[in-house]
Amino acid sequence: MTGILRDLWRYHAEFRIGAALIAVALLLSVLASFSPYPPQQVYVVPPDVPPSLTYWFGTTSRGQDVFWQLTFAMRNTLLFGCTVALISRLLALTIGLFSGYKGGWIDRSLMAVNDTFIVIPLLPILVLFFFVMRDRMSWLLLALIMASLGWAYDARLIRAVAMSLKAREFTQSSLFSGMSTREILVQEHLPYVMPIVFSTTLNNMVWSIGLEVTLAVLGFTDINTPTIGGMIYWANQHTAMVAGIWWWIAFPTIAVIMTFIGLFLLAVSMNDYIDPRSRLRSFGGAS
């Protein structure tokens, strides 16, 4: 594994850039533990100071240091995105594989549920959840809710692959050799769908973090936990954009974009490495 990473690092520019970007994002979130200020306290530094040597990313109108706020925001947002991705992946995998493998009425009813989740508009549901949960609506809970709403899209993709796998010979031979459904799915089919799982993870994170920002902008999240959306929420509350406090919005935005580009490049380069077809294509040699 380390060998692969080393090779990727040495010979794959996209991987290098991606890894560097992710490293910066991770570093930022790790730095949160060293913040001199508690994340929720306001007026700990002079407000509205532009980026300078003392305050690298400037300070907010709430008297918070943008840099240190950003470290918390990155940590929470990444954790949020990963949690949603992880849980929804588990759901999508289980349901997709099972539905695709079993077929018949199990498949049809599972897919009916699945399609229902696809067509139901999420926003009113999330907002109503917010109203019911009130201040118990922590980011973790939000992550759980979003995960349980965000698996349908990918479950369908996985189901499609599982259906094609089912038709293959090795499934039949496994079946005849007396493997249980669970064993067949986990041992035989899972490896084939993992690439899809990886590639959908990124999209899922983009989706969940984007939706978190949307909810935050509308004020339907826990505004005290700093997240990227939370920072934008507070910046909005202080009309930072027209007040000229651009650094309050610019740095969180750059951080998000950086993270996503990093993830994307990593996914692309890993995919290149795993997928023999794309490997062949990028072989050098002028013809």
């Binding site: 794959h12 294509r281 072989f283 050098g284 040699g285 013809s287």
Partner: protein, 344 residues
């Protein structure tokens, strides 16, 4: 290394060949994650195909047969790269290969003069379109006539090949493997090309269908007068249809002769092994297997590439490459054990 070889074009009884290949070298070159590899898939191959003949190419898998036909067909894309040599067609003189010819010239001769039946008929047809559209896309631009006329030609061509015109309305996945292969051959021959490159056209077909397909190829040669380069790992196939046969091993042509001659009098130890391992009725002596495996072409053994497995290997085989010499009229061979004079 190869200067001493005789060129097939110089054969006295031969007319100008329709296709001649000289010292062709095609390598898979990779430079990825620090690992530079240079797989010499085709390494100095020369042969010629006469008008109207069926020329067979045989050898184990990964002996370079497919790469050779691909290179001749001009299907050269990275990582495959032509390192040296020429490919000359009678209808495309002076360029030394499709990749050196102007695009307009190539477009002119493709399908009209040179057509290609790719390996694996399962995947060569566009899965989301009906076969008719393949005929239109591939051949219509080459035939200067009305669309209606063209349709009639296609139907007539199919009828000649004993194919029902209804296949035109079918999607590839709706046809059986044999039908699909025959349709592919029909597609490749609709323009009555001078040369047909057919790569493993019978592989993965059952014996009955195989026979039909081979009969079809012979029929086409007879009716249209095309030359055919037929690649197959199955010597039985060659025995049935080819006129002459080249044996390839590890990227090189090691023996070439009339098919009958090869079967009757194989000279190269590898060819002999191939022939002797063919099953014969009433023969229940266990076949003697060949030791070892085909060499890694990224790092081939020096000298004769067959020497690590060769029962007749001599010292010279380990560092010198044997030239391809004509030992008998029309029988060329690259082996020190056979061409003793060279080894001396």
């Amino acid at each position: 290394m190869t200067q001493a070889e005789t060129m097939p074009g110089e054969l006295p009884d031969d007319a100008q060949p329709i296709l001649s290949v000289r010292d062709l070298q095609a390598h898979f070159r990779t430079d990825r994650f620090g690992v530079k590899r240079d797989v010499k898939a085709v390494d100095g191959v020369s042969f010629a195909v006469r008008r109207g003949e069926i020329y067979g190419l045989a050898g184990e898998s990964s002996s370079g047969k497919t790469t050779l036909v691909r290179t001749i067909a001009g299907a050269v894309k990275p990582p495959l790269d032509v390192v040296g040599g020429r490919v000359d067609f009678a209808f495309l003189p002076g360029y030394g290969g499709l990749r050196r010819a102007p695009a307009a010239e190539v477009a002119r001769i493709r399908w009209r003069h040179l057509s290609y039946i790719m390996q694996g008929s399962m995947n060569v047809l566009n899965p989301v379109r009906r076969l008719r559209s393949a005929f239109v896309d591939f051949a219509y631009p080459h035939i200067g006539e009305s669309r209606k006329q063209f349709e009639q030609d296609v139907v007539a061509h199919l009828a000649r090949l004993k194919l029902d015109p209804s296949v035109l309305a079918a999607y590839p996945h709706e046809l059986s493997g044999g039908m699909r292969q025959r349709a592919t051959i029909a597609l490749a021959t609709i323009c009555r090309p001078d040369v047909i490159l057919a790569d493993e056209p019978t592989t993965a077909l059952d014996v009955v269908v195989q026979k039909e397909v081979l009969a079809m190829i012979s029929g086409i040669r007879r009716e249209i007068g095309s030359s055919v380069v037929l690649v197959s790992h199955d010597l039985g196939v060659h025995a049935q249809v080819t006129d002459r046969l080249g044996i390839m091993y590890a990227g090189r042509l090691i023996e070439e002769a009339a098919t009958v001659e090869i079967f009757r009098n194989p000279l190269h130890p590898y060819t002999r092994h191939l022939i002797s391992s063919l099953p014969r009725i009433g023969d229940d002596v266990p076949r003697k297997g060949l030791e070892g495996a085909p060499p890694n072409l990224a790092d081939p053994p020096p000298g004769c590439r067959f020497h690590p497995r060769c029962p007749l290997a001599m010292e010279i085989c380990r560092h010198k490459v044997p030239a391809t010499l004509e030992t008998a009229p029309g029988h060329r061979i690259a082996c020190f054990a056979v061409n003793r004079s060279e080894a001396a």
